[in-house]
């Protein structure tokens, strides 16, 4: 039963990502639902969940794109893990902080991806990639992540930093 739940969630994520991408012309920056989900998972459930979400969703995007398979997964995993680590150290009840973290991590993701691609000989310039891709995607994400985060926070609660990252049920109350 749990498997089917995850499978449905996965297909829904793919569908949402593709639908969001199709709203924008090919080659132009579009919101990355996969990155939004990865950052939110990291913020809500900690570094390991963020990393695992990044690997699964990033690898899907890589396999569909067909180039640099693994780099998208790796960079998304780093972003997911960092989101989880950051979540343990910042005041996450404030959605402005969540938005700022999303913007920062998206920028970092664009630099990491383009830098990695450049190392493999693909002509991406990290600085230009940050301006052309990282910044717009970061702005989209800084709007979308807080919305999803607030919904997830109500549903799943948050990690308790004092309990070493164990889940803490908040009881459906949003106290931001």
């Amino acid at each position: 039963m749990r498997f089917w739940g995850w499978l449905i969630a996965y297909v829904a994520a793919v569908w949402l990502d593709l639908a969001a991408l199709s709203l924008f012309p090919a080659g132009s920056p579009a919101p990355s639902v996969f990155l939004v989900l990865t950052i939110t998972a990291g913020l809500l459930r900690g570094p390991f969940t963020g990393m695992a979400t990044g690997v699964v969703l990033g690898l899907t995007a890589d396999l569909v794109s067909g180039r640099l398979i693994g780099l998208g997964a790796l960079t998304a995993a780093i972003v997911g893990a960092l989101a989880g680590l950051v979540a343990r150290r910042v005041f996450r009840e404030n959605l402005t902080i969540v938005a700022a973290v999303s913007l920062l991590l998206s920028g970092l993701w664009s630099i990491a991806y383009s830098g990695g691609a450049w190392l493999f000989g693909v002509p991406f310039h990290p600085g230009r990639a940050f301006v052309a891709i990282g910044l717009p995607v970061g702005i989209y994400n800084s709007v979308l992540v807080p919305v999803l985060y607030a919904l997830g926070f109500r549903r799943f609660g948050q990690l308790d930093p004092a309990a070493g990252g164990e889940r803490l049920r908040v009881g459906g109350e949003w106290d931001g």
């Binding site: 593709l18 991408l21 012309p25 132009s28 899907t60 794109s65 180039r67 790796l74 991806y113």
Partner: protein
């Protein structure tokens, strides 16, 4: 507690990094064939991609109609009731009308003599912000192979870089890994049109001669040099020229003839008898 239990997450992380970096290195460039895993993922996601793209198009059409409704509301308040009534039908009718106009234009398209034009529909864009590719609904069962050229009646779109049974991935002219042999039609100056690394909707034409005669407004066609693109396909128009590397290289910025933002139907040029 065993060492595995204690360091499980670290070990899994390191293993994942090694595997992913190795895979990225092996797939940094285009391959002649794709792996079975990629083929299965692409074929499994193809219906999802098609449905998601249709959803996106419907949302876009609805958004456009909302803008029109607002305009009409301000100018013609007495027509509000009529507009409300038509609102449900308008997006679909607009969509059909535009599709009809596009298909009529496509009927007038004559491919180069050595090719047959196979009409295909764009079913989605790349699932990545990093690459300028689109997926089309024709694949190897329709005779599409890697490096098959894709055009519209306006000009060159790109080439096929990956094929499954029923779909193909088309690398657009604007992709940073795209390169097309080209010639300026007025002066016959040869060069190569490259996708830009600044993720813009223009291309850069590197001219081979440092005294190249190229000016704003010049039309650029494929030169036919190389094995992939036939000569004479319209690439676009020069919008800017510049010199770089101590004045040794002349580069022209080319605006593609094809509007990649509105790419819905294309022609795949399959060699006759091949």
């Amino acid at each position: 507690m065993t060492a595995w239990t204690r360091h499980r997450h670290t070990l899994l992380g390191v293993l994942a990094v090694v595997v992913l970096v190795a895979m990225a290195g092996l797939t940094a460039y285009f391959r002649e064939d794709i792996s079975a895993v990629e083929r299965r993922v692409l074929e499994a996601l193809s219906p999802v991609q098609r449905a998601a793209t249709e959803t996106g198009r419907s949302i876009r059409a609805f958004w456009v109609s909302l803008g029109e409704l607002r305009h009409l509301h301000e100018e013609n308040s007495h027509l509000r009731a009529q507009v409300e009534e038509l609102l449900g039908k308008a997006p679909r009718l607009d969509d059909l009308e535009q599709e009809n106009a596009r298909l009529r234009a496509m009927l007038a398209f004559a491919p180069p003599a050595e090719f047959e034009a196979l009409a295909a529909r764009v079913i989605g864009r790349s699932m990545s912000n990093w690459f300028s590719t689109v997926e089309i609904d024709k694949g190897s069962t329709d005779g599409v192979t890697v490096n098959t050229v894709v055009v519209t009646q306006r000009g060159l779109v790109g080439r096929v870089v990956r094929v499954t049974g029923r779909t193909a991935t088309v690398l657009l002219l604007t992709d940073p890994q795209s390169g097309v042999g080209a010639v300026v039609i007025r002066s016959r100056e040869p060069g190569v049109v490259l996708g830009t690394t600044s993720f813009e909707d223009t291309c850069a034409m590197r001219l081979f001669s440092r005294d190249a005669d190229v000016v704003r407004g010049d039309a650029v066609l494929t030169s036919g040099l190389g094995d992939v693109f036939p000569s004479g396909l319209h690439i676009g128009q020069v919008v800017e020229t510049s010199r770089s590397d101590q004045g040794l290289l002349v580069t022209a910025t080319v605006s593609p003839a094809v509007d990649f933002g509105r790419l819905e139907e294309v022609f795949v040029l399959c060699p006759r008898g091949g």
